[in-house]
């Protein structure tokens, strides 16, 4: 299949997600689509898969223009989109998920036998060892990922879009996936491969296309560039060379502000660490490594199974978020859309919310005070807004995130838990946040920063904890860590090598 997308533009309200992007894929090609979070990759693929229509531009398949793309039409054209966040129904069986919407029928009922056999055949051809009759909720994340891929193979698709397919896979599973992809490529199947992991892209893809902030940057062959050039294309030269912490004295002080002893949750075990005043500690790990729950647990939003967290006021009651807030811990949650913003509320109220909860003690809200509060935030964070009474959803992702950050800065906490605070925002806003984090540390605040992106670790961390299967697999100081090392510790290969 030959796919061409020409001059595609797409806006969501005031946010221009795609600006005049052109893109093509040839038959039997694996095409790497590169870009940071929020660069527009997923939006472009959603346009192709018919999730929503483009505002401008056209899609051509084998030279013929396709009008009014819908998910059904795109399936009929043998295009399959494997989404980043798994889109399986947990309560259905594996084969039911694979055939969802396109069941085999025997007169009026589903031909269950035939579906199971066919599904098993595909799963076996991939050497997955997954039983097609299992309930999906019994599978682990990597297995679910493989089921998604098997689903795409089921209908002999000609173009498979993979959005970050390897986030939950370890290195052997990745190798297995790549060999399946290579075999399919020989049969003429094309792939669009979206990933942040540069080495992976170099090993599997033929050509690349880079998007940045919704705009087309460059396209070409991977064999013509090296990894450093790829990173530059990805985030822009200015930012590759920026070294926020170099040449500045480390603000880390002796005083310990937070001490976690042997804390356990459902997905992590026996984690202990001390956080110093002015220190930035990064936690990283793959999906399912326990970092998500650890972050919310340290804020009291998820129950700790055992262990204690103490600060200078003694052992904290981690079951009460408000108490944790008043003890001087603030948290910027991950996944802004689900956990951060209050979409129907004004920017002003979104900004004031944490202050209301923890510190506001008057009967009535003073309009004047809240306006002043927002003006302060706006200045400090350089938030671009027309009126603070507009709903927060009228802002771009980066500005929304700045409002969420300033919501917490208003509390003037000693410790900030930041759970993937740069998810889905543009490069400029990301760097504004890195700068802010470094400044906070210099002011004597302490930061627990959760991220899965190496550039962030490298820019920020004084120390870095790597989690693997719920346990700390490495504690590395600044100067000790490298991308390869962190990758090895977080996929468990380091541990396997030592054995």
């Amino acid at each position: 299949m030959i796919l061409e997308m020409k001059n595609i533009s797409k806006s969501f309200g005031p946010v221009r997600a795609l600006k005049d992007v052109s893109f093509d894929v040839q038959g039997g090609e694996i095409h790497g689509l590169l870009g940071e979070n929020g660069a527009g990759k997923t939006t472009l693929m959603n346009v192709l898969a018919g999730t929503f229509p483009q505002d401008l531009g056209k899609i051509l398949i084998n030279g013929k223009e396709v009008f009014g793309m819908t998910p059904r039409k795109s399936n009929a054209l043998k295009i399959r989109f494997i989404h980043q966040e798994l889109s399986l129904c947990n309560d259905l069986k594996v084969y039911q998920n694979m055939f969802l919407g396109e069941e085999y029928n025997k007169s009026w009922r589903i031909d269950k036998r035939k579906e199971i056999d066919r599904a098993q055949e595909v799963l076996d051809s991939m050497n997955t060892g997954i039983d097609a009759a299992l309930i999906v909720s019994d599978l682990d994340t990597a297995q679910k990922q493989l089921v998604e891929i098997a689903r795409a193979l089921l209908f002999e698709s000609e173009l498979i879009i993979m959005d970050e397919p390897t986030t939950a896979l370890n290195s052997q599973e990745i190798e297995k996936l790549f060999s399946i992809m290579t075999a399919l490529k020989k049969r003429g199947v094309s792939f669009i491969y979206i990933s942040h992991k540069i080495p992976e892209l170099f090993s599997i893809c033929d050509r690349y296309t880079v998007l940045r902030d919704g705009a087309f940057i460059q396209t070409g062959f991977f064999r013509d560039i090296n990894e450093h050039q790829a990173t530059e294309l990805l985030i822009g030269k200015r930012f590759v060379e920026a070294r926020l912490r170099e040449g500045r004295p480390s603000p880390v002080q002796e005083e310990i502000v937070l001490k976690a002893s042997d804390i356990c949750g459902l997905t992590f075990r026996n984690i202990s660490f001390s956080l110093h005043k002015g220190e930035i500690v990064v936690f990283t790990g793959l999906q399912g490594s326990g970092t998500d729950e650890l972050a919310t647990s340290l804020f009291g939003a998820t129950k700790l199974e055992s262990g204690t967290v103490e600060n200078r006021m003694g052992i904290l009651d981690m079951r009460d978020i408000r108490h944790v807030m008043q003890s001087g811990i603030g948290m910027i949650p991950r996944n802004r859309k689900e956990r951060g913003i209050l979409p129907d509320l004004s920017i002003r109220n979104n900004n004031s919310m944490a202050f209301f909860v923890a510190k506001h003690s008057k009967l009535f809200i003073s309009r004047k005070e809240e306006i002043q509060r927002f003006e302060r935030s706006k200045e400090r964070m350089e938030i671009k807004v027309s009126s603070d009474l507009d709903p927060i959803t009228s802002l771009s992702g980066g500005n929304q995130q700045k409002v969420i950050l300033s919501r917490w800065l208003e509390l003037d906490s000693d410790i900030y838990v930041m759970d993937n605070p740069t998810q889905g925002i543009d490069v400029g806003a990301k760097f504004a946040i890195y700068k802010l984090v470094v400044e906070l540390a210099e002011q004597g605040k302490s930061i627990l920063f959760f991220t899965s992106e190496y550039p962030e670790i490298q820019q920020l961390a004084d120390r870095c904890f790597v989690l693997y299967k719920g346990e700390v697999s490495a504690e590395l100081s600044r100067g000790e860590f490298s991308e390869e090392m962190i990758m090895a510790y977080s996929t468990g290969t380091q541990r396997e090598m030592q054995k």
């Binding site: 804020f299 939003a301 978020i321 408000r322 807030m325 948290m331 949650p333 689900e338 956990r339 951060g340 913003i341 209050l342 979409p343 129907d344 509320l345 109220n349 004031s352 919310m353 944490a354 209301f356 909860v357 923890a358 506001h360 009967l363 009535f364 809200i365 919501r407």
Partner: protein, 321 residues
């Protein structure tokens, strides 16, 4: 070109933020055309008197819906409390005791709903469906199907609460307006109001901002319950005889309708108390216009139904853009 787009934008702003005012005006004009005497003081106060009891309930419903929940138990709760209230007044010969009883009973009724929703983790729809059925059954059993009637000794003084006037304004109208103002201030000027909208908007984010979601939800049901208690007291005073099987029936429908027509989002998060206030009046106006236009009373529900659908459709279309 530019002025045109700005014009469009501000027009949309106007229709979004003040749509309930526009609809209200429109209905008023229709009413005045159908009956020129509609604007007489007598008729206006009459509309308020008719709408007051449901209107007070609708204020509670407004909070519940703004937080993304629902309450189907309004009618049964009001019936139960007012029937018991009448019994207390007959028994104790004290209006004050009756009044206090109604409010306390309201608090309890609300608390039960609230605790089942938060501690029991049951969907509000199911909880209030169950309490709706339960309270109606309790009052039917207590009354054995018959009415609860105020004794002769208390009749005149009790009836005066609902029927009396203050400076020419009916007491019921005063109660309704005062409750609306208090609720309006609660929702727009206090943290509590902001929390209610925050929970209705995104519960997860509200919790992660430190809001004690369960506590706020329980308080919402308790506030609403208190208003049901007040409404029940006024209903008993107005009717002086509470029919076990039929008292308060359809109140949930009218209260939800008033909130919907008033522009509160049925998904929670957005809404204004003034909208609900106008919504209550609009329901009354529609009712009166239909009677004056000689529409058969059986079709009343049909018209109200159509209007609710239109109100919610208008909302979802706005949201889509």
């Amino acid at each position: 070109m530019k002025t045109l787009t700005i014009g469009k934008e501000s027009w949309r702003n106007l229709t979004t933020n003040y749509s309930h005012w526009l609809t209200f005006m429109l209905l008023m004009i229709v009413a005045i055309i159908v009956s020129p005497s509609f604007l007489s003081w007598n008729n206006i106060t009459n509309q308020f008197v008719q709408g007051a009891v449901v209107g007070i309930c609708a204020m509670g419903m407004s909070l519940i819906i703004s937080a993304g929940m629902i309450d189907l138990s309004v009618g049964s709760s009001v019936a139960l409390i007012s029937a018991l209230g009448v019994s207390v007044i007959n028994d104790q010969h004290s209006l004050l005791l009756g009044f206090v009883f109604c409010l306390v009973a309201g608090v309890l009724v609300g608390l039960i709903n609230g605790l089942l929703v938060t501690k029991g983790r049951i969907a509000p729809f199911i909880v209030t469906l169950a309490t709706m059925s339960a309270w109606r059954s309790v009052i039917n059993q207590l009354g054995q199907g018959g009415p609860f009637t105020v004794d002769k000794t208390m009749y005149a003084s009790f009836r005066n609460i609902a029927a009396g006037r203050f400076l020419g304004i009916p007491h019921l109208m005063v109660f309704f307006i005062v409750v609306s103002i208090i609720t309006g201030i609660l929702m727009s000027k206090t943290k509590f109001g902001t929390y209610v909208y925050a929970i209705g908007s995104n519960q997860q984010a509200a919790r992660l901002s430190g809001i004690n979601v369960n506590r706020v939800k329980t308080l919402i049901f308790t506030y609403a319950g208190t208003l049901y208690g007040l409404a029940a007291f006024l209903l008993a005073s107005r009717l002086t005889s509470i029919q076990a099987a039929s008292a308060g029936s359809g109140y949930e429908m009218d209260a939800i309708a008033a909130v919907a027509i008033g522009g509160t989002s049925m998904d929670g998060g957005r809404g204004k108390i003034v909208g609900t206030f106008l919504g209550v009046l609009m329901l009354r106006i529609i009712n009166t216009v239909l009677i004056m236009a000689n529409v058969p009373p059986f079709l009343n529900g049909l018209v109200t139904g159509v209007i609710i659908i239109m109100a919610v459709l208008a909302q979802s279309r706005r949201k889509g853009k």
